[in-house]
Amino acid sequence: MAQAWTDCHIPFKAMASTCELRLLAPDAAQGQAWAELAIAEVRRIEQKYSRYRPDSVVSGINAAAGGAAVECDEETLALLNYANSVYLLSEGRFDISSGVLRRAWDFKAKQLPEPELLQSLCALVDWRRVERDGRSVRLPQAGMELDFGGFGKEYAADRAAAVLHAAGARHGFVNLGGDLHALGPQADGSPWLIAIQDPRRPEALAAEIELCSGGLATSGDYERFFELDGQRFCHLLNARTGWPVQHWRSVSVAAPLCIAAGSCSSIAMLAEDEGLQHLQGSGLRYLAIDAEGKHHHA
């Protein structure tokens, strides 16, 4: 039952990341048609949930902070429910209302924030205060913000894979800036080899992970950061203190869905020295690289 496949690589830009589709298709035209469906789905999610777009659902919710409740569609309600689950499972560490803290951290200026500013912003962070009632959501205080950036790219990778699967694609993967979802193995049944970037040397690889199907996501302290007096300050912030987390250089997790992999790796990063316990108990494959560069994996 050997079938000749056309191996299609389709690079594209979305969600401020370099993205790629790798699809085995019966022919190049089919591969291109599949790719268009998947890319359209990624762009749909980007437009709907980007906080940089004033017309997005998230911008609408944030603009109404302190005002009226905003009615949401099924998909948005499902994502808010997911955010709630992750908040509870992470014991409050993963909080989609913590995006405001970024206003205090200027990674270009490489300056530590004013303590008063950080304190006032921390007062705006608390998922438990977000009012969810039936189909509506309301931020009770002006200045509060929701941000789906913590799982938006992973969700888009899963959804793009679902679209491809529904269209008939069975071999290949979706890669949105390092958040992956594999539809199925290579044509001969062997897994895809996915490289994990070395968190300290951008040109080097830390490891390779075999992926046949499902999601793979990596969180790291090297995406946005600055160093001051020998200490690294990264973009992953403790929702309670407003300060960057330490302990892990990067955490990669493989799970049946990319969004679950991404949330698990984020929780491990945010949990700092308790991160390994989360990973060990998760039942998922992971590679965690600690502050000394030591690898922990299962």
Binding site: L79, G214, T241, L257, I259, G281, S282, L284, A298
Partner: protein, 383 residues
Amino acid sequence: MVATEKKSVTPAGSSLLAAALLLPGLMHLAQAESPPEQSELSFKFLSYQDSQPGLERIKVSSPSLGLVTRLGDHWSVSAQATHDAISGASPRYHSAISSASQMHEERNAYELGATRYFERASLSLGVNGSKEHDYRSQGLSLEGKLASEDNNSTWSLGVSHSDDTINPVNLVVVDAKKRTTSWMLGLTQVWTSRDVLQLNLGYTTGSGYFSDPYKIVDNRPDSRDQRTLYLAWNHYVDAAQAALRTSYRYYNDSWGIKAHTLNLEWAQKLAPALSLTPSLRYTTQSAVSFYYNPTYDPVLGAPFPVGYSFGNGQILSPDQRLSAFGAITLGLKADWQFNKDMSFNLALDRYQQRASWRFGGGGSPGLADFNALMIQTGLDWKF
């Protein structure tokens, strides 16, 4: 910087996946039950030889050929054919006398199955049959499996039925029937990433002709109810790159057998392509209520029990398998994966049954030791 006090951590992994599966359109991407990606052809050869001191008894050689293949996105079908050649001395009464008449029998058996896969479930239907010159059997089976949203629990429920017809050459009975129906309920639970637990409950009820037509004094009840409880714990040991498999099985039936079986296996990876699995099994059981010890009637002699009278329909059996005993099986299995599509395995099992090994004593007296050796080889090819 951020002082975190030490406390117990509730890992979020599997719950995260459960939460993620509630998102629109993602459920089917993480299927628990999916048809096999590739077709698989397997060939097995089983060789069985049992013995008692001074007597080689039954020898069985049994090649079998199986095929599993995928049919579309939601179906798989399977077929298996087995041929048994049985030869050797006919069974002794107890173990005290040897009639040693030679026998040779052939048996052909087949199994056909089809499985339909759903998002988190599968449903399998099977038919099977076997034929030897004095025994025919036909069966049907149905099994459903359902996995939880997080894939950590899998429930299974199965029912099977078989209709057998017995026509022994000595015409003790003609067209005797035996019908059995079995129910099985199972739960497999992923406990941690290194531990899997399994619980199975089984119930079988049968009616018809259960006796051995070739034993003169063998007249068994015409119904039998059997119950089993099976508990298993598999644990992966990271440091040794090995898996420890343990199980306990409790069995009882309406004939009076109560049996306990403990099984231990250590599956050790020796090289990326080679693993070796030594195993140890201990079984202890009580006798059926109608088993009689090898003490024979002074007038009639063996195999007739003391006070035996012809034609009164007394329920009796001298079958050693229905006696009280303990048994130990030592096994060793090697698996060798040539490449990702082809693997070979070889398993040796040595079975030893002794009345004196029954747990707590009270094994059936007067029986010779009983031993058996099983060698099984298998070749699997995926394509």
